[in-house]
Structures are given as C-alpha cells and as structure tokens.
C-alpha cells in the first residue's frame, strides 16, 4: 500500500486550515493596507463572529438555509460593529502619531472580552455541525470531512470575490489607490472618511465570516480572540501587508507546513509560523507579494525638536526624583512593591521608546530583551551560584548581546515589517524558554530568585531598583542628547539626507537596539529579584504589548512620555483589577485617554501647560 493517499489527504486537511486562516487574515490585510492601522481587535471581531453565529444558528430554524443565513448575518453584524468603531473612535485620532490607533484597538480587545463574557457566559459553546455537510467522504480510501471540502472551496471563493471587488469595481479601485498612496488619493478628491469606514466594514465582515465558519469545527470560546490574532498577523506579513493574494499564499504555506510538520516534529507547531515569518522577512523584506511601503508624507503635526531638560521641566523632574527617593519614609511595604513595579515598567517603556521615538523603529517584540535580562539573572543565580549584584551586572549584558544579533537583522527592514521581525524573534526565544525544561524549567519557570540578605527588606530593594532604573532612564536621556542621539534622529527624519552627510544610519540604529536591549535587560533583572520567580510569560507577546501601550499611551513624541505611560498603566491596572468586569473598565479608561489626548498623556499634559502659559502671557498687558 502506498503512502500517497495519506499524504494527499493530509494536504487537503492543510488546505482546509489554510482557508480558515486566510479568511481572518484577509480582512486584517485590507484594513492595514488602506488605513495603516495595526488592528489588535481583529481577533475579537473573529470571536464575535463565532459567538453570534452560535446564537443565530440556535435561534433560526435548523437546516441548510438557517445555517448559512446565520453565518452571513453574523458576518454582517460584525462588519457593522467594526464600521461603528471606526466611525465613533478611530476617525477622531487619524492625525495622531503613527501606530497610536493600535492603543484604541487594544482597548477594544479588553472591552469585547468582557462584553462576550457578560453576554455568552464563561463556558465554551459548541454549535451544531453544518447541515448537509456533517459527514465524511472517502477519497482514495481516506476519510475527508465534507465541511473541510466546503472550506477548501470557500477560501478561494472569498479570495476571488474580494479580488473582483478590488479590481472590477469603482470602490475597489479607490481602495487600491488608497493602499498605494493615501495622501495622493485624498488630494484627488476621494472621500477618505467614507473609504476608511467602508474598508473597516469589509475587513470586520471578513473577520466575522471567518469566525462564523469555525462554528462547525470548534466551540466558540473566550480565548479565540487572542489565539488567532498573532497567527493572523503572521500570515498577513508573510503575504505582504495589503496584498490579499499574498495573504492567501501565506495561509496555504503556513497551514501546509503545519500539517506536514507535525508528522515529523509534533512540537514544532508552537513556533513554526514565526520561524517561517522570520525566514521570509530576512529573504524578502516586504513579504511574498508586498511592495515597499510608500513614504509617509508626514501624517499629523511635525515633530518638535527635543530640548535638554532645563528650567521648569528640570525642576519638575527633580521634584519627582526627590519624591521617589523619600517615598520609603512614608509608604508602606506594598506601596514600595507597587513603586518598584512602576520603576521596572518605566525603564522597560523608556528603552522601547528609545528605539521607537528617537530611533523611529517600531518593535512588537521588546519583551525578548526584558525576558533575557530576567532569565539571564535567574540562570546565573541557579546554575552559577552568582550573587545578586553579579547577576544584576551581568544579565543586562546578555540582553545587550541579543540586541547585537536582533538589531543586525532588524535594521535592514522598516515599518511594520521590522516590528514583526522583532515579534518573530521574541516568539522564537519564548518557545525556547518554554520548551527547554532542563535549563529554563519550561513553563514551570525558575523560582527562588530573591534579593541578597542586605536587600531583602522592601525598602532596601526599592532603592536598588530606584538606582538602576532611574540610572537607566538618565542614561537613555543622555544618549538622546549626545551626538549619537542627534545622528539617530537624523536617520529617522530623513535617512537619505543623513547618509549623504556621512551618518551611518544602519550603524546608529543597530547601536540603538543594543542600548535599548541592554537597558530593557536591566529592567528584566530588577524585575526577577522583585518577584522571586520568572516564567516564559515575561518573554511573551502580552509583555511586549504592555510596553507598546505604555509608550504610545504616554506619548511617543515626548521624552517623559513612556514614564507617564508606565505610571498610568501600572497604577490604573492595579486599581481596576480589584473590580469585577475590570477589563471593560480598563479598556474604557484607555479609550477616554486616547480620545482626550491623541498625543498621549505626556503630550496632552504639555499642551495643557502651553495653553496655560499662553493664557498667562496674554493676560499680561
């Protein structure tokens, strides 16, 4: 008996998974292509699609008609929700700095999580199988589920429909024009607002459709959103952002590699997609079918030049530092723990801001440096019997060394592709920490990494954290205002001009990665001694996203932005998690901040003080 039928059937199984993956990714790709919004909430729309389809299937009369109309209706509903979100929230913040909109989508993720919990309850909901497609047929003696075959058809059918829409309709032409060059399309009189709403509708519709079509395959659950979002981004990036055909090819590639990979190496699925993405990005920096991103014609206000701290801001900064130094005199033990958390978060966010703000490079995987610093310290203590001081001194060097390697690859890319490569690296390192049980303890982590005797009291360790974290922040501030920092910013603002006056832009960016990596490593090693344990979670996506939100929420254009963001994030989170449905509240608060201060907390604060000063000046005769 030959193995060919088996492999053919395995191929078909892979194709069915590819179709599911493509449906989610296509909408995400469309939305990004036109609006340049990194939509974290796309997975949430997918989850909503599955839940509404579950409810509708049970409400409508059973049968083929009932099933397919509930699939269509739920996609429509989700599309409308997406359009409404664009209309109510995103529309107000398009002029905010690049990527700021992702903070709003992050808030939406939190809100939808609690809304779904409230509406549908905590339990997984298993819907019925698709009527008429609930069996399996034999192909060359191998059983293939009928619904898999339906999906294999549905994927390309949706691809064709979207392709025809984009290439054969007026709306499609406008969308493609906007994908190519948004400002030019606007200048030619295309109504951008309407276009963006339409694209959001279509993208969310596709996400909802993808979710609804999963009902016969899996239970609708509250974990669907976060489970699908990373994979969807990976597919979009491998295919080339904005390219629907590319997304399809990428989905097939990832799904087939998965289907055959598990025959050889079952554990590989945990990281396979990210490895593929890293390889593709290194070989083809814009994905399979993507094009170099058109130069942004400077959305929003031009960036103000940075000024060294002097005058009133310097006094304010000194007051904050003095307050932090004096805090142990009045604060209780827990307040000190919370302040230590804040210091760690502030240095982590400041180091991320260093590459994102002055460096102009986005990172979705900054947790890799944080985690390596933390793991480095923990491993030094566990295996080399190092003391706390040695661990705190050496561990950041591991993170900086990682910065050397990661930076070398990353500075060759730009924009979201660079960000996704950092994400891939972080995921690969995460999977190593997760799998390598003998060394890292796997997901059982490393425990028992507590401060040395002299620093065991909360106040003593707080001072250790204070010195290291404030020192790190000061160092970053120093670098930003040194000639190196000017060179870095020159490269960000115009790499061509910077190159032509003799600045080696890549070398500057590379160094920035090393510096930011090392200092994130400091934050990580301070973190591990404050918690006593380390788990792969600290290398994972949520840690990177937290950092990103702090930087963006704080205001990317201001040097004290990440610190304000870290403070807002740490203290708000600590307060709201005491409440029930705190995720919705937290999300709502973030949305409020986003709408009130599209330039971040620090930016909004600066605007307020300028206005106040302006008024004071006017008041003078």
């Amino acid at each position: 008996m030959s193995d060919a039928p088996f492999y053919f059937a395995q191929f078909l199984t892979g194709l069915a998974s590819a179709s599911s993956l493509f449906l989610v990714a296509s909408g995400l790709s469309l939305i990004f292509g036109v609006t340049r919004i990194v939509n974290f909430a796309h997975g949430s729309f997918y989850m909503l699609g599955a839940f509404t389809a579950y409810s509708l299937v049970n409400a409508l009369p059973s049968g083929i008609f009932g099933f397919w109309s509930s699939v269509f209706l739920s996609a429509l509903l989700v599309g409308l929700i997406g359009a409404m979100f664009e209309f109510v929230v995103l529309r107000r913040i398009y002029r905010a700095p690049e990527l700021f909109q992702l903070v709003a989508t992050f808030a939406l993720v939190l809100i939808i999580q609690d809304a779904a919990l409230w509406i549908w309850g905590a339990e997984d909901l298993l819907g019925p199988r698709a009527p008429g497609l609930d069996g399996a047929i034999e192909i060359f003696g191998e059983r293939i589920p009928e619904y898999d075959l339906a999906l294999i058809v549905a994927g390309p059918a949706v691809l064709l429909a979207v392709w025809l829409f984009l290439h054969r309709s007026r709306w499609g032409t406008l969308i493609r024009a906007a994908t190519e060059d948004r400002e030019m399309a606007g200048a030619l009189g295309v109504n951008q607002s309407l276009l963006f709403t339409a694209v959001f509708f279509l993208g969310s519709f596709l996400a909802g459709l993808g979710g609804a079509l999963q009902v016969p395959r899996e239970a609708a659950s509250l974990l669907m959103d976060l489970n699908v979002i990373a994979e969807a981004f990976v597919v979009v990036v491998i295919g080339g952002m904005g390219s629907i055909v590319g997304a399809f090819l990428a989905a097939v590639l990832v799904a087939e590699l998965n289907a055959f990979g598990i025959l050889v190496l079952p554990k590989i699925t945990i990281v396979l997609a990210f490895i593929v993405m890293a390889v593709v990005l290194i070989v083809r920096p814009w994905g399979l079918l993507g094009k170099p991103q058109a130069g942004q014609h400077g959305a929003g206000e031009p960036e103000q030049p940075l000024r060294p701290l002097a005058g009133l801001p310097l006094v304010a900064a000194l007051i904050v530092v003095a307050a932090l130094v004096l805090a142990p005199a009045i604060a209780g033990d827990f307040m000190l723990v919370l302040l230590t958390d804040f210091l760690v978060a502030a240095l982590f966010a400041a180091s991320l801001h260093f590459i994102m703000g002055p460096g102009g490079m986005i990172s979705f995987g900054h947790a890799v440096f944080f985690g390596l610093g933390a793991y480095g310290a923990a491993l030094l203590v566990k295996f080399a019997g190092a003391g706390m001081i040695v661990a705190l001194a050496v561990a950041p060097l591991c993170a900086a060394a990682a910065g050397v390697v990661v930076g070398w690859f990353c500075v060759r890319l730009s924009g979201v592709y660079l960000a996704m490569l950092t994400l891939a690296v972080a995921q690969i390192v995460w999977s190593i920490a997760f799998q390598w049980q003998d060394v890292t303890g796997g997901d059982d982590g490393i425990v028992g990494v507590w401060p040395a005797q002299w620093a065991a009291s909360k106040a003593a360790y707080y001072y250790v954290a204070l010195v290291l974290c404030l020192g790190g922040i000061w160092l970053l501030h120093r670098f930003t205002h040194a000639p190196f920092g000017y060179g870095l910013r020159a490269g960000r603002d115009s790499s061509l001009r910077a190159e032509s006056i003799g600045i080696n832009v890549h070398a500057h960016q590379w160094m920035a990665f090393v510096i930011a990596g090392g200092l994130a490593g400091v934050a990580g090693s301070v973190f591990v001694f404050s918690k006593g344990s380390i788990f792969p979670d600290e290398l994972a996506i949520p840690r990177s996203v937290d950092g990103l939100i702090m930087v963006l929420l704080g205001g990317i254009k201001m040097l004290f932005g990440p610190i304000a963001g870290a403070a807002a994030f740490t203290f708000l989170e600590d307060i709201v998690t005491r409440l029930s449905y705190w995720r919705a509240i937290f999300g709502g608060l973030i949305l409020l901040i986003v709408l009130a201060a599209p330039d971040g907390v620090a930016g909004g604060f600066a605007r307020l003080t300028t206005r106040w000063r302006g008024k004071a000046l006017q008041a003078k005769p």
């Binding site: 088996f6 059937a9 395995q10 892979g14 998974s17 999580q113 919990l117 905590a122 339990e123 997984d124 909901l125 298993l126 069996g135 399996a136 059983r143 589920p145 898999d148 395959r217 899996e218 239970a219 659950s221 974990l223 489970n227 994979e231 799904a255 998965n258 289907a259 598990i262 025959l263 079952p266 554990k267 699925t269 945990i270 004096l326 005199a329 009045i330 209780g332 827990f334 723990v337 919370l338 958390d341 997760f434 049980q437 796997g442 997901d443 059982d444 982590g445 425990v447 028992g448 507590w450 909360k458 973190f527 006593g532 344990s533 788990f535 979670d537 600290e538 949520p542 600590d574 998690t577």
Partner: protein, 401 residues
C-alpha cells in the same frame, strides 16, 4: 522626620486597636485568595462559588474558634508577576493570616515560592503540577486537588487492564501535558511492561490543528489512545476524530474529561466509553455530598462542577487548619495542617506529612450520554492516598528544607 511621625501614629493606632480588640474579641480572621478569574472564568467561577458557599456556612455556624472568616479575593489576570504583587499586598497591607487559591501551575509555583520567602501558609487549591509538592515543594505550601501524577496513575491502573499494548498519546505542549504523559507512561510500564508507545502528538495549547493531528494519530494505527487535551482543544479533537473514525474500535483513556467543566461543553457529542477521571456529582449518594449538591443548586441555581467541590473543600481545609491550630500563628497552622484529617463531601481528606499533598481523590469511570449530555458511568471513587508514592520515595523527590 516623617518616619518618626508615622511610627508614632502607627503605635498610637496599634494601642487603640489593641484596646478595641480586647473589648470586641471576635475580630474576623482575614484570608487572602488569588485566582485567574478573568483568564479562565469557565474553571474559576464554579470554584469561587464553591468556597463562597463554604465560607457562608462556616460563618453562619459561628465561624472558627469564635471568630468569623473574611476572605479577600483577587484576580491575577493569569500573570504570575501580578499574582506575586497581589500576594504581597494581601500579606503586608491587608495582613491576611494565610493565602489560598491559584489555578495555573506556574502561578501556583510562583505563589508557593512567595509563601516560602515570606513565611506564610499557602493552600494551593487547584494547580495540578507535581512540582508544587515535590521538586519545588516547601513547608509552607499544602496542595488540595489530586495532582497530575495521582490522576495519571488512576488511569494507568485502568489502562493496564486493557488488552491494548500499542499506545499513542496526545497532550498539549506545556508542563501539564508533558507531566501527564510522562507519569502515565511510567505507571503503565510498571503495571504492564509489554506496552509500547508508538506515536505522540503535542499540539500547542488551545491552538490544536485538529484535522492534521487526528490523521497523524490514525496513521500510526495504535490500539489505544491516551488523551490529555481539554477545553476547546478537546472539542475540536473529538469532532475531527469522530469524523475521521479515529475512535472506532479503539479505547481512549482521557485525563480529567469526566469533569463537568470538560464534559458539558461537548453536549451531545460526548464520545461514549472513554475511560476518564472526573466528577459524577449526579450519582454520588453519600449523604454529606448530597447535602453539598442540594445546597449548591439551591444557592446558585446551577449544577456543581469539579471546581465547585475543590473550592468548597479548600475552605473546609482552611477552617480545619485554623481550628486545630487554635489561632492564626503561621507555625501553629503549619503544625496543625501537617497530617490533618478533615471531613468533606469527598469523604475524609488528609494532608500527608511527607509531602503536604492532600489525599482528596477523584472518580474514575467511563463517559456516557444521558438526555443528550455527558455523564460518567461505571465509576468508582479512587482514594488519592492509594495513588501517591510512599514517604520514602517522596524524600527523594522533595528538596530537604
């Protein structure tokens, strides 16, 4: 200067408090509780209801040693760092006398290590990891729920009775899945040396590529399958597996699948005849258990789940510890807890002296269908004590401390 003032203030407060304490006597005993309520509500909400019900019953009966119990419950959002921060707040701000809770094994380990560092008693209610009581065990941590090893050993005992010798395994690729497979293999080999494990699949947790995985298992043509997947992964595995005939003429042995949390979401598609550990609450006739079920249904108008029982027993365990210790001094409570036996709806439970693991057991039986939803049939209660290694062996597993 400020410190001086605040110290004086504190000592004043302490004096006032001491005076009022003398006057009122029955100051409640504060207990800290941490769990992943938002991350995994399907598992942690029934648990919360369980301990809340026990708490109300205990307080209605006058509390423990004349003092009421007061539980401060917090959500760790599924992050170990958060859990440690909250533990710190509960201990230093809220001045709780002990901690309990946690669901995820890694969070359980983080809090257990915190307990060791801060010298607080921690009753780990739900985490299954063997490391909590063995390789990373410490004298401050007691674990209630039957561990991975115990449940795997219960299933191995049943699996050894089967004629099957060629086995395949499928488990989520993380510590719990790996431990569950390792323990099952070791126990089954001990009982039946001629078994072979011919295929293993390790889908990523909650991201199973079910079709491809099922086909890979099918290709190996095993005689029996050992399954550790759960939640959404299990639903997908069952659907794809039955469509592709994976379960035809094969015995499946499946960890935890008989617990209502895992069984109910499968609705009418529960595969019949799988050998599982679980909780057949509908059929347990024991009087204490009946009372628990009736009270639970009356209070929450829903059926109890495994988590409900674990939560309920956790609270009973804590009340028993505090009662025996005669107060909330940590050393006294540790001494009281070690070897303590208390009554519960699961029958008498003992915290073993050797490893501080409780002997709470699980029910072993087969899956079945009744009125379109999953139940357990042919079940028996497996006492945890029978599936734990001897004190001698534990000595080798546990670090000396």
């Amino acid at each position: 200067m400020t410190r001086f003032v605040s110290l004086r203030l504190i000592s004043l407060c302490v004096a006032v408090l001491a005076a009022s304490a003398a006057a009122v006597v029955a100051e409640p005993i504060k207990i800290g509780e941490i769990n992943s309520y938002t991350r995994l509500p399907a598992f942690t909400e029934p648990y919360r209801k369980g301990w809340q019900m026990a708490l109300e019953e205990i307080n209605a009966a006058g509390g423990v040693n004349g003092r009421k119990l007061d539980v401060i419950a917090r959500d760790d959002a599924g992050k170990p760092g958060n859990a440690v921060k909250i533990a710190e707040e509960l201990v230093s701000n809220d001045k709780v006398s002990l901690l309990f809770g946690t669901f995820f094994s890694h969070i359980g380990l983080a809090v257990a290590d915190f307990a060791k560092q801060r010298k607080v008693l921690f009753v780990a209610s739900e985490p299954l990891s063997d490391a909590i009581v063995w390789s990373k065990g410490n004298r401050y941590t007691f674990r209630l729920r039957p561990s991975t090893h115990m449940q795997a050993a219960m299933l191995a005992a049943e699996a050894a009775k089967l004629p099957a010798t060629k086995w395949a395994t499928i488990a989520p690729n993380y510590a719990y899945g790996k431990d569950a497979v390792k323990e099952f293999k070791a126990e089954l080999k001990k009982l039946k040396p001629d078994v072979e494990f011919i295929e293993e699949q390790w889908p990523t947790l909650f991201k199973i590529d079910a079709g491809a995985t099922v086909r890979a298992l099918e290709r190996a043509k095993p005689e029996a399958i050992y399954n550790v997947t759960f939640g959404g992964d299990l639903a997908k595995f069952v659907r794809e597996g039955s469509l592709r005939g994976l379960f035809e003429n094969r015995t499946v042995v499946s960890l935890l699948t008989g617990e209502p949390e895992y069984l109910l979401p499968l609705k009418g598609e529960v595969p019949v005849g799988w050998i599982v550990t679980g909780y057949p609450w509908q059929f347990i006739e024991d009087e204490v258990h009946r009372k628990f079920v009736d009270a639970y249904k009356a209070k929450f108008s829903e059926d109890p789940k495994m988590g409900s029982l674990v939560g309920y027993n956790s609270m009973l365990a804590i009340a028993a510890i505090v009662k025996k210790a005669g107060g909330t001094d940590t050393e006294a409570m540790l001494k009281a807890a070690s070897g303590l036996t208390f009554d519960s709806p699961s029958g008498p439970i003992t915290f073993r002296v050797a490893d501080q693991q409780s002997t709470m057991g699980a029910w072993v039986g087969k899956t079945g269908l009744k009125d379109g939803s999953g139940v357990m049939t042919d079940w028996r209660y497996a006492n945890g004590a029978d599936y734990l290694p001897s004190a001698e062996e534990v000595k080798k597993l546990r670090p000396a401390n």
